[in-house]
Assembly symmetry: C2
Homo-oligomer: 228 residues x 2
């Protein structure tokens, strides 16, 4: 039995990129190949031990930067995972404080892949180390819940966007087609969108109004922990 | 600077009991007097180091049992608190995985108080050790959000209850008076209540229908983590 419980921070990082076959935007996450036991050679979420002089969210943001060379556009604590059977032996018992993060599509395309870092479609994962498959499943569930009642889709987009671009984010996250007219009505009723007065032109479509999100509304409501 | 970060589990335990002056039901929490440094003599949330062979939720339930002699009717992970400045010195740095719990009013009245355990009104706290005041504030915020969209109020009540009893729980948690007719309509529309066909009689009121909650609906929806 372990004398001490180790503490680690891991991060589930989501980006929207085209699916390799369908070319429709889907959620991707970066994985890191484990270079030591346990589960050496297996894919896992980016993460590592919490440094004694580092905050939890700062540790998650550092994981993200080191793995993807990106800064998160959204970062939130997901859950602390600490079951006794997470590691193959009791001596290796670790509690992982897990964060989830969103990065913008334009930046994610610039995200690096190396021998030990690979981006994969979130719903088509290889076998993962430890309980990381359950962690990704829970992070997907949290994201899919939040996108319906907060302006979290904004974190996938640039500063301004068309309603079609915003709908594509919702469709990719929720994995279903949304009716354009209904979506427009819902977004207008939400009071979360501000028309910029500018239009996206070009291509074979007629000019589309550009919107931005009302920045006075928080990405997600964390009550007394906002800004912590 | 600390070489290692310590890991602790703490629990915010809520019960409904009459306010000492107004006699209206309000939220109470038990506090424990710290018997060692740092913050010796100050009131704090029940908790302690995570034992190497104990799960996180099991540790929280044990804290609760040892402090109150009660079993929780609801227990959920709240958040992992790990700021660098939580403890007075860096050598004492601790990450606390905090749970929140609900106990039934009838059981909470039997809860013990000793020299080092005291129940206090959740909105009238004494000075607390570490960041425990922020933790209680966040737990109250989470409870007040959840009571509006889940059947979590059930955890404060016995197996069957009248609509007036259920409304009293909502009023105590939300700290505002609710219109009885509106509340009845909302609860009936929620589909979460099942009439038992039995009635509470006695006292100066006419007999009141007893309800129970639909047990096929989870107390709170934790998606893939349900039952973990």
């Amino acid at each position: 039995m372990a004398d001490e419980v180790s503490l680690a921070v891991s991060t589930v990082i989501f980006a929207l990129r085209p699916h390799p076959r369908t070319r429709r935007p889907v959620l991707w996450i970066p994985l890191v190949r484990r270079i030591r036991a346990p589960h050496q050679g297996t894919w896992a979420l980016p993460g590592g031990p919490l440094a004694p002089d580092e905050g939890l969210a700062a540790s998650a943001a550092r994981n993200l930067r080191e793995t993807t060379k990106l800064a998160p556009s959204y970062l939130e604590q997901l859950y602390a995972f600490g079951s006794l059977d997470r590691a193959p032996t009791a001596a290796e018992r670790t509690v992982s404080v897990v964060y989830w993060a969103l990065v913008r599509a334009d930046e994610a395309e610039a995200g690096v892949e190396t021998l030990n870092v690979r981006w994969v479609v979130a719903d088509e994962l290889p076998e993962l180390a430890f309980d990381h498959a359950l962690i990704v499943e829970y992070a997907l569930w949290r994201l899919r819940n939040k996108v319906e009642y907060s302006r979290i889709a904004a974190a996938f987009l640039g500063e301004t966007f068309t309603l079609a671009e915003l709908r594509a984010v919702h469709e990719a996250v929720l994995q279903r087609t949304l009716d354009p007219a209904n979506f427009r009505r819902q977004m207008e009723a939400s009071g979360r969108l501000v028309p910029t007065g500018e239009f996206r032109t070009g291509g074979r479509h007629r000019p589309a109004q550009l919107y931005r999100h009302d920045e006075s509304i928080e990405l997600a409501d964390n009550g007394p922990l906002t800004g912590l």
